[in-house]
Assembly symmetry: C2
DNA sequence: TTGTACGCGTTATCAA
DNA sequence: TTGATAACGCGTACAA
């Protein structure tokens, strides 16, 4: 490995001069600059970041902790983070907790992994990351950052509810409201809901969004039109019948996956989505375009969440104020975007 | 940040002793050891890896370059890499090239991004990574590693065809053969193929696999039963009709996505997959379980590819032989695994 | 305009 | 069993 020393020796200058040239400092002769630059090129010299960082106490590195990179929302969030890092000249030290693989489907109700997170964060600190972005795969409150964390940390997708760490989250309430408003605009009044688990923040916020529109429209919202699901396909399947009994004209599922289950059951009953009954989903996963008919759903602002989270972390690093986060920045919600496909029928009287 | 120096001072020992204790060296009194360990605990001291690495010239870090983390195969490969790193005590410096996002659908036929790769790899080297794993999102030959690379590098999913760098790839030939063998076992003899682009290595290998079975069964394979696709849904859709004209009883698509297109066209024609005609796919993407009926397909050994690639990199690092790779290790193929669902009909005469 | 010398937090080599 | 001290590669006062 060629070092700054070698460059200096070859050019008969001191290492200080070489260092100055590399870092674009003024006060260096044009002639020496050229000579040095040339030999740097020739020897294919690259400054050793490790040494540099040791000196500057800045690693220009963000530690990214992902609960499970194989979860559907993780790659897009990470994509947003990488975009931001690329722009600001940061590197990424990735920690994949593999929670889903290690603890199975319901790891997010499990707190066994908390010590593991602490350990991994400590590792990242030991590696001298300048900041941390934690990416959850289920939206929930998570107290995973140690009290004495000495670098800025931001939560992406989940909530911290801690004044020290901002959360960048989905605007679930508005997202669900938009879906329901669309359903209303197509003439639907009796709308069935397949929700997520009631203890989930997603679920609660979205339910609030649903009610917002019913209230706005002056129509009472009936509790019996809500069936509790668990985000999985089977729960959509199982919930369908009771919703049908309620004579709903449309079913809003809080995940595309559950909508898939609704499709399954509807198919068995010989009912065609978008024709005999309307269905809408949530998440806008690629697979929903393969449903027959393609599902009307709303996209999670995953990329944006990652980007914004990282941006906040870097802003705090560079402003180096690691204090409390002002109230208005504690939870930053990003909007979903509705995608209309063919699963919702227009039942207005012409 | 508390350093080794502080620990030493507090304990009235030299930093050398503290260092020895941390690194489990022998020849240190039990009493001093305990005292030091206790203050380390108290002050919550963590060794600075940066400084350590500067000295040891080992960063215990793998540079992972992913062409696009949002591509469907990337997360699982990265998952395999992280599993391996976790086991061997390595960290991951992640570089997401964002090729798909930057250059669109057909970036893999584009060489504009080569300088970018070189630059990113140089960055990783500057960050002192001990090795590099490059993750492609389309299987192809890629000469992206610079000649003078001074750390071990391994290609995951793509081919290097270079004696210096091993490739860990999908066993496409065997994978396709297995699908065709299954189709044969269900009585199919006239089999249509929706292939990938003919210049793709995937395509060629899989076509070879198809022929292997026809040859084995002593049945001539007809070229006109192959339609060239582009991996995308539309190409499956467009290819269906001409295959139907050939009176095929089954269609093997080289991607689940294209199989989706076939389903689309079949649906329009009122033909039911798994009943009127059989369909099989490739990749085993989650969405294929949402097709109606669920698609019989074969899974790519993504996780294993990532794991194996990383394992090789680390083995080379720790053996620190960075020379040529022995012939038998140049291309390591991992097997696919067939998943039978409901899209293939048994047409044997009972 | 350039060079010297020191320090960043470690590990490693000796000597005590 | 312990301690001084010299590296590691770089940035930066300060001196020249």
């Amino acid at each position: 490995m060629v070092t700054i020393k070698e460059i200096a020796k070859r050019c008969n200058v001191s290492i200080a001069t070489v260092s100055n040239i590399i870092n674009g400092k003024p006060n260096v002769g044009r002639e020496t600059r050229e000579k040095v630059l040339k030999t740097i090129e020739e020897l294919n010299y690259t400054p050793n970041y490790i040494a540099k960082n040791l000196k500057t106490r800045r690693s220009k590195t963000i530690g990214v902790v992902v609960e499970d990179i194989t979860a559907f929302c993780a790659p897009d969030i990470v994509d947003g983070i990488t975009k931001c890092c690329e722009e600001k000249g940061y590197h990424i030290l990735l920690t994949n907790l593999r929670l889903y693989r290690k603890f199975g489907e319901s790891y997010y109700e499990n707190e066994k992994f908390f010590p593991m997170i602490q350990k991994e964060i400590k590792e990242l600190i030991a590696k001298q990351v300048d900041g941390i972005v934690y990416v959850t795969t289920h939206e929930r409150v998570l107290k995973c950052f140690p009290k004495e964390l000495n670098v800025p940390a931001v939560m992406a997708y989940g909530y911290t509810r801690s004044p020290k760490y901002p959360s960048i989250v989905v605007d679930d309430r508005k997202g669900a409201a938009e879906v329901i408003r669309y359903l209303f605009s197509m003439g639907h009044r009796r709308i069935g809901i397949v929700s997520g688990p009631v203890r989930s923040l997603h679920t609660r916020e979205r339910l609030l969004g649903v009610q917002d529109i019913f209230t706005e429209q002056g129509i009472p919202f009936e509790k019996k039109c809500v069936v509790e699901g668990d985000w999985r396909r089977g729960s959509g399947y199982r919930g369908t019948d009771s919703l049908l009994e309620q004579k709903v004209t449309a079913i809003f599922c809080m995940s595309d996956i559950m909508a898939g289950g609704v499709y399954d059951r509807l198919g068995e009953l010989g009912l065609i989505p978008g024709k005999d009954i309307s269905v809408a989903g949530f998440d806008d996963r690629e697979l929903s375009t393969y449903y027959k008919p393609p599902l009307t759903t709303t996209a999670l602002p995953l990329f944006e969440i990652g980007y914004t989270a990282c941006e906040h972390a870097i802003r705090k690093i560079e402003g180096s104020d690691c204090g409390e986060v002002p109230e208005e920045l504690l939870e930053i919600a990003r909007s979903c975007s509705l995608t209309v496909r063919d699963s919702v029928k227009d039942i207005r009287i012409q």
